[in-house]
Symmetry: C2
Subunit: 171 residues, 2 copies
């Protein structure tokens, strides 16, 4: 089964992201707007219990963090996707690093660029048409994230929550 | 903001339900297959924190329960919807009752018929066409549910998880 770990921003940010995703993101109906902290990995039902326990232990050492967005950016030319750029604060990067130090059945090889996708799988023409417009809009959200969610994927591609973890900040 | 409390069955049951929902349920893309335990209610951001605490306190007194489905049933003539009938075991009914004894900003007036919707908003013709077929299929799922999820609804109608509660069975 496929799993991933994400943060869902507030309703306000999700509604904002969805106003673009509705038109520009083919994953619109598979998952609500989110920031991925641990990308897709495989686990069976026994493995996920062990992993979930480790995740819980890592997360309870972390405190809630501030999510700040400043602008719309693009992953082109790697891929024609647009996203809300999230400030890679020290807390967020350390949360990501700690979470990715757990052993999953994968190798995460890409650099962590915290973001909320608002458009993807665009054609080059669409991308070059939309990006200059979206770059101009103000995207000044600032809010606290105090929980992460472990999700799993169904056969049709949609994602369901398996567990919620609070950032309790025990240490 | 609109909230609700549900249980998500296993991936196996969700995939099964989705094979029908895909065709017959216009809410297919708004939420993955679920059993509603506490129907939609309104709360603002402060109220929900208090409610969530109460929910947590209620749920930690309950143990995981067995979810058993036996057949496909219909809500017609009240509404042209089909669902996987879930056995209203004593544990499940008591969980529902305890959860609904919390004060929400609503009056839940309907009887609790535990179910997983697989088709809704059917025309009368569609309903009468599909129901006899679906009544024939075997739907013998049995599994343990050890957690419930508090969800909230976005402007586009889709649902996001706010919190997961374990049925810890403290008492």
């Amino acid at each position: 089964m496929k799993y991933g770990i994400v943060a869902f921003p507030s309703k306000k940010v999700q509604d904002f992201a969805n106003s673009y995703r509705k038109r520009y993101d083919p994953h619109y109906s598979l998952i609500t707007p989110h920031m991925t902290i641990k990308g897709v990995f495989e686990a069976d039902e026994n493995e996920i219990k062990i992993i979930a326990e480790k995740v819980e232990n890592v997360l309870k050492k972390h405190t809630p963090f501030s999510l700040n967005t400043s602008k719309v950016s693009s992953f082109a030319p790697v891929t024609n996707a647009l996203y809300l750029n999230i400030n890679p604060t020290e807390e967020l990067v350390s949360l990501h690093d700690d979470l990715n130090s757990i052993e999953y059945n994968d190798v995460e090889s890409y650099t962590f660029v915290p973001h909320i996708t608002i458009a993807q799988k665009l054609s080059a023409t669409e991308h070059d048409d939309i990006y200059p417009q979206l770059k101009m809009i103000g995207v000044d959200f600032e809010e606290m994230i105090d929980r992460l969610h472990l999700l799993y994927q169904l056969e049709d591609g949609s994602w369901t929550v398996y567990e919620t973890f609070r950032l309790a900040g025990d240490e």
